[in-house]
Symmetry: C2
Subunit: 209 residues, 2 copies
Amino acid sequence: MPSTTRRHSPTEDRRPVVEAEILGATEQLLRDGHKFTDIGVRQIVEQAGVARSSFYVSFRDKTDLLIRLAGTLKQQIFDFAKDWTPVGENGGPETLTRVYLSMIQFYRQHGELLAAINEVATYDHEVEQFWNSQLNRLTELTASLIAGEQAAGRTDSAINPTVLAQVLTWDGDRVIARHVATNDSANDAQVARELAMVRWHGAYRRPQS
Amino acid sequence: MPSTTRRHSPTEDRRPVVEAEILGATEQLLRDGHKFTDIGVRQIVEQAGVARSSFYVSFRDKTDLLIRLAGTLKQQIFDFAKDWTPVGENGGPETLTRVYLSMIQFYRQHGELLAAINEVATYDHEVEQFWNSQLNRLTELTASLIAGEQAAGRTDSAINPTVLAQVLTWDGDRVIARHVATNDSANDAQVARELAMVRWHGAYRRPQS
DNA sequence: ACCCGATCGGACACAGTGTCCGACAATGTG
DNA sequence: CACATTGTCGGACACTGTGTCCGATCGGGT
């Protein structure tokens, strides 16, 4: 009676190799300064050293590729902000400055990929939804922080928390992306500080109207 | 002796007709919800009722078309902000709120075209430069306002005017664009107020550190 | 009548995308 | 060993969109 052993096929080892080559090649092309929209599949597979038809085994299309690439960044962006609170051990304006400084450094590391996401999100609904879901989480979190500060009497109770949260969260990344693309890192601390102080004094500790 | 009269050819009247048809058709397609990147030249000329080859008589390519369309908007964006000052007849937080409210209404009128500019600016260097030139003017104007307030002792002199100006001007339009795309006009006044108050109290009248 | 300029319609060449298919290589099983 | 399976490769095909070019037509001016 021959023994029956589950087939351990190394094809699973080989599949990720091609996929990883493609992901890595794409990141390299972005780092080389190419716009995602301008990079063709042929260029990617040439950089990766794989067959063009193999691309479509792993990815539905270029958008699918970008979403795969963006997947890990998405959670990290949220993680920067989720632990900050206006008061408490991780709280206050100086800690907020540090949060923004960490984000600036993150953007310096991943600027090209983040720009690609932003690029495609302007015209592709799926990428836009994918990326905005983390932004919406951040907005909700910020709205609840504002509401908490209002309940404690530390933030002007006349403010609509949802509206203010949208104003605060819908734009910060654009400043950071622009700063990173435009300026070297000498001003990182100052930009972080301005982002934090404008929000601290303009939102959380705005004088009572 | 036959009189010699400069030939007044109505081809100049006819040339703008095709061009105007193309410009109008593009705007209509944008208003219909199409992303600029997704609109092909064939679609535009069908909507305009002209020949496809005629498109290339008037425009080098789609980017050229967009820059033509964007030309008038560009100056208008700058005009909203250029007359505001922190103090004086056109100054202060309530007037800043009105400036932002006007901008929101402008975005409601021209939202699709502005989104198209934003879209193409992410991957086309020419459009990006074209649009950013007005943003840079706004940043410089804001930096000089901040410096003036510092000289008058009304804004914290520890702040770097250029850095703060960048933080204040590099992002507001994104909030407005998102708000217009996401929410109806019921909250326009509130969003305008938040945009203004965050900047007023967070930047121009930030407490001395 | 003739000339000129603009528009039209259509053909051509090219690039990029996605699908499909046969060939081949590597691995495991009986 | 033979056979089966799976993944990759290379290439062909069909389609779409873009930009260029050209002949035909039309309208207006002299």
